[in-house]
Symmetry: C2
Subunit: 239 residues, 2 copies
């Protein structure tokens, strides 16, 4: 059974690292998981990042191993009880997943073996159909924008409305997503506001957290969904 | 002699399309140029975009041909008196330049034949070393992030400082550029604020416009440069 917790962002402005989603993470992993495999590839300083993840998950009651400190990345994925991919730069993250040749292995562990997957920000982007709706700067060239395809739609993390007082002329987030939908066969995009997350359990998907989400479907007007909404219909679209 | 006018953005909040850079464009093209070849590839609706460019350049005293309405894109580049590449989505723009097989031809016309090149926003991104410092969403996968390499550095158009009142947790522009500079051999990034542009004439580069620019060099603190600053040193870096 597929189980995913896809979080918009790791840190809310009024809380510590993973503070706002602590309860959801504990409930998601339960006491069946003892050790979480952390993937720090989205940031440059992996040792620092692994320390930060370890600190948070230790207070939640879990051990953490960072994949970059294991002798064999593929072996680490194959033995993982649960995977947490942290945020940072989505391009760097996806390129490293391809470089380490673990894209297919993660898919198999999550979709076939049913190990729990937690993603935050860039880690949520790579869980979806593609990274084409990341907000990040393309600082490095991955071999593809296709991502782990654990779900058949896209996510836009840190989703936000434009600031009405701002005179900046760059595209709004909604305009950017509309440009994505100018392409045929572009899947739905779930805009997860900071504080929001999506729980996927097999064929059921539910919005959790403190804030709402906005769904963009090609050719349709965007629709707001409140915390608690059943989003299972998103899992029925085909890739 | 290489001649470029690289504009941060086409529209300032208090003016019409290309209104804020009208005088600089007229002085740059002078009366030697009669017809400008417009490249609308960064936006989906090319006819609409060509009309908008035509309207603006007509009031400046130039004819406009849009490359998408020519029978042969490569032939149009080879016969152009001047090229203007407009803004939109940088990934879509660069992919189309590669798809149309005109990357090398534009380089040759600008660097060898010396025809004037005007870029705005995405059109400025593609003029540089790479598109790795665009702000745009990666809605489509280009065959490379390498760009036209008309100059040996990168540009970040629409450059802006973070809003001090904003609690949003996404990376600031400066943090994103710092992540780009975590890679060895990453070239300088010129952050052009809206209203700012860079004039390049052979080995001389000068900031023009109403606003200042901020230069980011790997391993160094960023430096502010005022309108009128001589930026020629940026042309000496090698790719
Ligand atoms: Ca990020
Ligand atoms: Ca743009």
């Amino acid at each position: 059974m597929r189980r995913l917790l896809l979080i918009s962002n790791s840190t809310l402005h009024d809380g510590g690292y993973l503070g706002h989603c602590k309860e959801q993470i504990k409930q998601f992993l339960s006491d069946k998981v003892k050790t979480v495999l952390f993937v720090p590839y989205a940031l440059h300083d992996r040792d620092w990042y692994a320390g930060k993840a370890k600190e948070a998950f230790t207070t939640f009651g879990y051990d953490v191993q960072s994949i970059h400190q294991q002798p064999d990345a593929l072996g680490a994925i194959n033995q993982a009880q649960a995977i947490f991919i942290g945020g940072g730069n989505t391009f760097r993250l996806l390129k490293t997943l391809y470089d380490e040749k673990i894209v297919e292995a993660i898919r198999k562990r999550v979709l076939e073996d049913g190990i729990p997957y937690i993603g935050s920000s860039a880690g949520s982007n790579v869980a979806t159909a593609s990274i084409k709706t990341t907000n990040d700067m393309p600082i490095v060239y991955p071999p593809s924008f296709d991502a782990l395809k654990l779900v058949p739609f896209n996510i836009n993390p840190h989703y936000m409305e434009p600031d009405a007082n701002n005179t900046h002329m760059g595209e709004t987030r909604e305009q950017r997503i509309k440009q994505f939908h100018e392409y045929e066969d572009s899947p739905p995009v779930l805009g997860l506001r900071e504080g929001c997350m999506l729980l996927v359990e097999d064929r059921k998907a539910t919005l959790l957290g403190k804030t709402d989400a906005k769904l963009f479907v090609r050719g349709k007007d965007p629709v707001e969904y409140k915390v608690g909404s059943d989003m299972s219909f998103l899992l029925q679209s085909t890739l």
